[in-house]
Symmetry: C2
Subunit: 352 residues, 2 copies
Amino acid sequence: MSTISDVAKRAGVSTMTVSRVVNGTGYTSADTRARVESAITELGYVPNALARQLRSKRTKTIALVVSDISNPFFTTIARGVEDVAAAHGFSVMYCNTDESEAEEEQYLLMLIERQVDGVLLVPARSSGASFRLLHAHRMPVVVLDRRVAAHDVDSVRCDSEAGGYALTRHLIELGHRRIAVLTGRRNVSTSVDRVAGARRALEEAGLTLDDEMVHWGGFNFGKLNQADGHRMTQEVLAAEGACPTALFCANNFIGFGAIRALREAGLRVPDDMSVVAFDDLPEEWVSEPFLTVAAQPAYEIGHRAASRLLGQVSGSHQPTGENVVLPFELIVRRSSGPPRTASVTPLTAASA
Amino acid sequence: MSTISDVAKRAGVSTMTVSRVVNGTGYTSADTRARVESAITELGYVPNALARQLRSKRTKTIALVVSDISNPFFTTIARGVEDVAAAHGFSVMYCNTDESEAEEEQYLLMLIERQVDGVLLVPARSSGASFRLLHAHRMPVVVLDRRVAAHDVDSVRCDSEAGGYALTRHLIELGHRRIAVLTGRRNVSTSVDRVAGARRALEEAGLTLDDEMVHWGGFNFGKLNQADGHRMTQEVLAAEGACPTALFCANNFIGFGAIRALREAGLRVPDDMSVVAFDDLPEEWVSEPFLTVAAQPAYEIGHRAASRLLGQVSGSHQPTGENVVLPFELIVRRSSGPPRTASVTPLTAASA
DNA sequence: TTGTATGCGTTATCAC
DNA sequence: GTGATAACGCATACAA
């Protein structure tokens, strides 16, 4: 409630002297400093960050714009971001777009209004509109998790194609030949890349990935993921022709939805159907880890991206359009096993 | 980058006219309004929220201060808060204290500096220092999740005592007589109340809750919950005397840690040991719900608390010190069952 | 070592 | 209907 001039009056000095004491800039005699400091504590003075930021044109704040911060993958990214930010005295604002392009634009406008120093963005829009907007306001930005067309934007993500390849290859090595793919929206790079990786593994083994075996998720990639995994699995089970022996799920939530649908259909995992997925869950949140997954280095993605962004903010780093692609980790658990009726000899044995 | 005066110059009007157009206040002729609006789009003008907030003394921002926003319980609370805030045009700042009193004070100071309009607080400090600080700066506050001594602060929480009673009563009805309690820190009301509820259920059944059967978690209630559940369970198993047949865990994470420790010890749930816990996990995050829990209405806690806070912010509601206590829901799943050697007839049968 | 004048971008208040 | 002026609280630039 009290302002810098209240403190100045009480200490019998000018506001500038108070400012210097508060910020530790310039010279102040020990005597006046003591007077100012006691005035500060007596009044319970707390500087007004708005005025300070308006004047200095720096808010010491960055934003993290993701589809859904309650998704453990993004939560872990957020931890990485926060640790870097805190180490540099920055705060983080979190924004959920729910994968909506309209929400994304609205949030970016809000962030520009609030003069944040930079933005970490998981883009919901495949168009370059967001980057044009940010660029027009000279707002530093680093993209997380996804490939983007913009060639002058730095990005940090995991290798989705290779992860899709590894998970599928794992299934093939177990003896699976018919594998259904459950993925996200068509205009999100991770959805596309993971399917591409799966296709590469299948074709390398002399198999093909028919279009009817690829199920693309609905509009709500973020919130309704599990519902989509559930629905897509029902579609797979209801489809004409031979049923697959394994499901490749493009993320954790889809995987859980799939498992739920399988259970409801009276099928057991992995006996009746193997399930593999992208993303892992923190150990604290599961009573017993079950899913075979390609785990992404989420904390590191957040950490690296935030470091780059703060580099841009401080001017020590210019955006070069570099794309950092981090490796995944394949974790084999109990949700994947050999198909009940191995139609052919497992690949590993055959190639031995 | 462009300011209100750039727009004014371009449209050939004063800054006040631009301000009126932007905010939709006062009268403006359709003609000038059109000129101003085209100037705005031509320049890509975005108002500076800092200047606006400095002038109007309102930031349209509230803060949510919790121990760990990656905890699903708090994530769900956050959704409830965000929905209310968004409906009123407010933004939400999230802060993690990691259950540290020092972090809490630091964050509150930061929020006061930034002039947020109000604070939703899950207090890590049992002292009233935080409330005194907030009160000194006329900062509206509503407490979430926990009981506090301060008598003039509104709060919204779940009935921990009754939940502890219900979970324990459920175990007793199954035939359990020796029940170990794994809870959190002694100075957090939820930890204490849940133990009190368990004790009431036991005493009502003519049993007692010996101190050696109650295990209090370590300092890091937030981050290291699971580690604590794991450690405390090992203590239970290593203790002298008769081993309990059931574990009451004061939250989800403790429960998962306990189950992990039991599995490592070669014990099966619920055959060798029943486990019940507080808090439930969103359906999307589990392949198969397993834990018997007292589920808290987390979304509603956030929703109600945010509504009250915004009432205070707008001046339509004065803090009355009212404590809203919401009911829990008992969800019985597979982690609880009758003890292997039912030493006595189950209570329900006995009382029939 | 300390103080004065000025401006950050916006809006409230009062004129016209 | 519209504009001039001042003020929000602080920090930069310069002066003393």
